[in-house]
Amino acid sequence: MSTPITPALIAEHGLSPDEYARVLALLSREPTLTELGIFSVMWSEHCSYKSTRIWLKTLPTKGPQVIQGPGENAGVVDIGDGDAVVFKMESHNHPSFIEPYQGAATGVGGIMRDVFTMGARPIAMLNALRFGAPDHPRTRHLVSGVVAGIGGYGNCMGVPTVAGEVNFHPAYNGNILVNAMCVGLARTDKIFYSAASGVGSPVVYVGSKTGRDGIHGATMASAEFDDASEEKRPTVQVGDPFTEKLLLEACLELMASDAIIAIQDMGAAGLTSSSAEMASKGNLGIELDLDHVPQREAGMTAYEMMLSESQERMLVILKPGREAEAKKIFDKWELDFAVIGRVTDTRRLVVRHKGEVMADIPVMALADEAPLYERPFVQTPKREPIDPLSVPQQNDYGATILTLVASPDLASRRWVWEQYDHSVMADTVQPPGGDAAIVRVHGTLKGLAMTSDVTPRYCLADPVGGGKQAVAETWRNITAVGGVPLAYTDNMNFGNPQRPEIMGQFVGAIEGLREAGLALAYPVVSGNCSLYNETNGQGILPTPTIGGVGLIADVRKTATMPFKSAGEIILLIGETRGHLGASIYLRDICGREDGPPPPVDLAAERRNGDFVRGLIASGRVTAVHDCSDGGLALTLAEMAMAGGLGAAIEPPKDLPLHAFLFGEDQARYVLTASAPQADAILADAERAGVPALRLGETGGAALTIRGGHTVAIAALKAAHEDFFPKLMG
C-alpha cells in the first residue's frame, strides 16, 4: 500500500514546487514516501547548505597547518610532534528552544561525535549561548534547562567544559542560540574519514537502537517558528550520555586497529545522511537492509527508520572479514552492532525493508544535485558615526563601572560554568573566566588555547565589520594568554535567508570573516550554518559565532588576567580613539543601540598581538587582558576583581573621559609589569611601531580614575557575582 504523494504532503516536507519538480526529473518517476522523506531532509537547508554554499566557498581554508578543512565531520590542524587538533562548532538552536535540556544535551553529544568520528579523543568543550531579555518570561526556564543539559551531557562524558559565552538580548526572545564546540586530539597518522570505498565491504551500524525520536529534526531546524512551535517537541531527540561514553570508548578501541575503511556519525537526518554522505564522498553506492537495523520499538517503517534522529549511533564501513573482531569490541561495551548493508558500485542509495525496495535514489541526487540558491540580498546600510561629545557623560564613573560589571552581558558567568566539570582529565591549565581557556596536550608541555566570540550588536550594525571583529577577537583572546592562533570554526546563526536584508547580513559577515582570515593567516577549518532563526517574522541579531584554537608551545609560559601585586605598572597596548558607537556604554548606560561598530584594523591587530605574544613568551609581563565589551574600564575592573587588587589610573587629557574609559576600540590589551620592565616595554613598543601608553599603577583596594572616580574592588566583586544567582533564584 503506497501513500499518495499530494502537494500538501510535499509542502509538509518543506520542499518547494520547484524542488519537487527537480525530484521528479532526477528519479524520472514519482518518489515513494520514504524517498520523499529522504529528499526532504537531504535537501533541507540544515543538510544541504543550499542558501550558503556559494558564499562559504569564498572563505580562506588553507594553510601549512591545515590537515583537513571544511567538508568532513570536523577540521584537523597539525600541532607538531605527530599530534593534531580536531575541532568544530555546531548549533542546536531550534531544539533547545523547544526542549532546552534535551536540545542542549544532544547538541553537545552531536558535536562530540563529529570529533571522535575523526579518530580524536575529545579534550575540551566550549559553548556560546544567546538568550532573550533576562526579564522575558521564558528566559530563566531556558537558561536553566540549557545549562543543565550541557552539564548533564558533558560532565558524564568526562570532557571538561572550559570556555564559552552567554549574552542576553530581546532579539533572541523567540529564538535562543545554543552553539557547542568540541576540541579533540588525534595522531596525524590516525585520522578517520567518511568516504566509502571497497565495493562489497560491510556497512555496520553501531551504538544505540533506532527509535522514533527526532524524525524531521533537520527539517524543523530549516523553518521559522510560529506560535505552534511548541507542538514540535516530539521532533527533539533525547540524549543518553552514558551510551555516548561507551560509544566513544568502543570507537577509539576499534580505531586502534586497522579494520575501519570509513566512519560517519548519525547526526541530523540520521541513517539517511550518514549513508548518503559516505556513498557520495566515495562516488559509490550503498545498499541497506533495514530489517537488520537495531530497533527500540516494534513496527517502525522504512520512512521512520531513515529519518529518525535517535542519538549515539555511528555508521562504519569495515574491511571485509573484520566483522567478528569489531563486534567483539562493541559486545564488550554492551552496544548494538549490526551489519545492515554493503558498499556497491551502483552510485545509488538502495533501501530494502521486509523484502521490498523502499527507496532507490542516485546518490548524486542527494548531494551534488541538491538545490543551490544564489539568493537575492541587500547590503546593510552604513550607520552614521557618533561624536563622543554628543553622548552623555556621567559625574561618577566609579558608579558607572559598578553598574556595568553587574549588567547582564558583563556580569560573572560563574553560576553557569560551575555547573560544568571543567577540571576532569586533569589537564585544564586555565579554567573558565579568562580570555581563553588552556588545556594541556596530555603528557606534554604543549597546550591548546581556545575561545569562542562574536559581538552580535556589531554584526547588526555592520555585518562586514562585525564578522571581522568576531574573528579578530578570538585571535586576540588566544594571543592574550600567550597562544599562537591556528585556525577557527564558524557557526553562522542568522534569520530567514529568503529575506534579502537577512541574506545581506550573511553575505556581509562572510566577507568580514574572509578578510580577517586572510589578514591574520587564520583559516576556517569547519563550521555550521543555522538559518531561519525567526519567530513570527522577527529575526535574531546576526550571530556568526567564531571558535578559535591556538597553540601554546610551553604551558609554563602563559599569561593570566588577574593583577598580581601592588606597585606594578599598568600599560595599554593599541590605539584608543574613544569609539562609542554600538558600545555597551551607549546601550546599557544611555539606552541607545545606534552607531557603527568600532573599525577593525587587521594590520594593527596583527602587529599589536604579535608584540604582546612576544612579551608573554619572554616572561616580561605579569598579567594580560584584552579590551572588548565595555572598553578599557571593564578590562581594568575585571583584572582588579580577579586579582582582588585595585589600581590608580591617570587618563590622558586628549579624549573625553567616557570615550577613553568605555570606547570599544579594537586591537588593544592591558598589561602589567614591574617598573623597570614597563619602561623597556614602552621603548620596545615605540621601536616596533606599536602604540603603547602608561595607564597607572596597581595597588590598594579600589579602582581609582584620577578626577574623583573611585569604586571599591569588594563592591565590584559583589555586584559582578550577584547577577546570575539573583536572576536564577
Binding site: 543543565a148 560532565n155 550520555p241 561495551w333 582529565m425 591549565v429
Partner: protein, 217 residues
C-alpha cells in the same frame, strides 16, 4: 606499591587516578574491567574512580556496586586491602556497604565544579598521615550528588571514632556535618567526594592532593 583502578562503564576519572598513582609510585596502575571476576592477587591498593558508572541510572553507584568485580573488591576490602573511592567511587563504596551512609542530590539540585577548601580532620590513616591535623587544603569537587547523609547515631559514631577524614569549610552540597570524606572502621577504606587526583600538578590547580597518594607508599 601495586595499584589497580577499576573501570566501570562510564567511569571517567579512571585515567586521572591512574596517572596520579603512576606519578607517585613510579609504576603504572593496573586497569581492571568491571566484568572481571577478581582483582589480581599482587594488588596493594584498589581505587574506585570518579565518573558516572552506568550513567547514574537507578541511583548513583547502585548498579556498579553489583558489578561482577565488586564481589572480589568487597572480599579483598574485608581482608584488609586498602580501597580508595573518589566521587562516584565513594558513592559505590556506600552502595556496596563498605562505608556507612549515602550520597544524595546536592542540596541546591545543581552540579557543582569548583576548588573547595577542606580541613584535614584526621591524620591517623594511611591516606591522611602526610597532612597536619586541622590543615586547610584546596581540592576540587565536581558532582551532582555529593550530599552526604547518615543517621545521627552513625554520624556520632564516625566522629567519635575519628573517621571523618575531611570536612568542607564552605559546604558546597549540603552534606551532614560538612563531611567530605570518611574512613572505614579499620581505617583502610577512604571515600571522599573531592578529587585529589586532579591536584597533583602545580600547572593544573595545585598539589594538595599529591600528599594523599604519597602517603600510601
Amino acid at each position: 606499591m601495586n595499584s589497580a583502578v577499576i573501570v566501570f562503564p562510564a567511569s571517567n576519572c579512571d585515567r586521572d587516578a591512574a596517572d596520579a598513582l603512576a606519578k607517585v609510585t613510579g609504576k603504572p596502575s593496573r586497569m581492571v574491567w568491571h566484568g572481571d571476576a577478581s582483582v589480581p592477587d599482587d594488588i596493594d591498593l584498589i581505587v574506585l574512580p570518579g565518573g558516572f558508572s552506568y550513567g547514574d541510572y537507578l541511583r548513583t553507584g547502585a548498579m556498579a556496586a553489583h558489578s561482577p568485580i565488586m564481589k572480589d573488591v568487597v572480599r579483598r576490602a574485608k581482608a584488609g586491602t586498602p580501597v580508595l573511592g573518589i566521587c562516584n567511587g565513594f558513592q559505590i563504596l556506600c552502595e556496596a556497604g563498605l562505608l556507612p551512609g549515602v550520597l544524595m542530590r546536592n542540596a541546591n539540585l545543581k552540579f557543582v565544579c569548583r576548588p573547595v577548601p577542606l580541613v584535614v580532620e584526621e591524620t591517623q590513616s594511611m591516606y591522611t598521615r602526610n597532612y597536619a591535623k586541622g590543615e586547610a587544603i584546596t581540592v576540587p569537587v565536581a558532582h551532582g550528588e555529593g550530599n552526604y547523609f547518615a543517621d545521627e547515631e552513625t554520624l556520632d559514631q564516625l566522629e567519635g571514632e575519628g573517621r571523618v577524614a575531611f570536612r568542607y569549610v564552605d559546604n558546597p552540597n549540603g552534606s551532614a556535618r560538612n563531611i567530605a570524606g570518611i574512613l572505614s572502621e579499620n581505617r583502610r577504606i577512604l571515600g571522599l567526594m573531592p578529587h585529589p587526583e586532579r591536584v597533583c600538578d602545580p600547572l593544573t590547580g595545585g598539589t594538595d592532593g599529591k600528599r594523599l597518594f604519597e602517603a600510601l607508599l
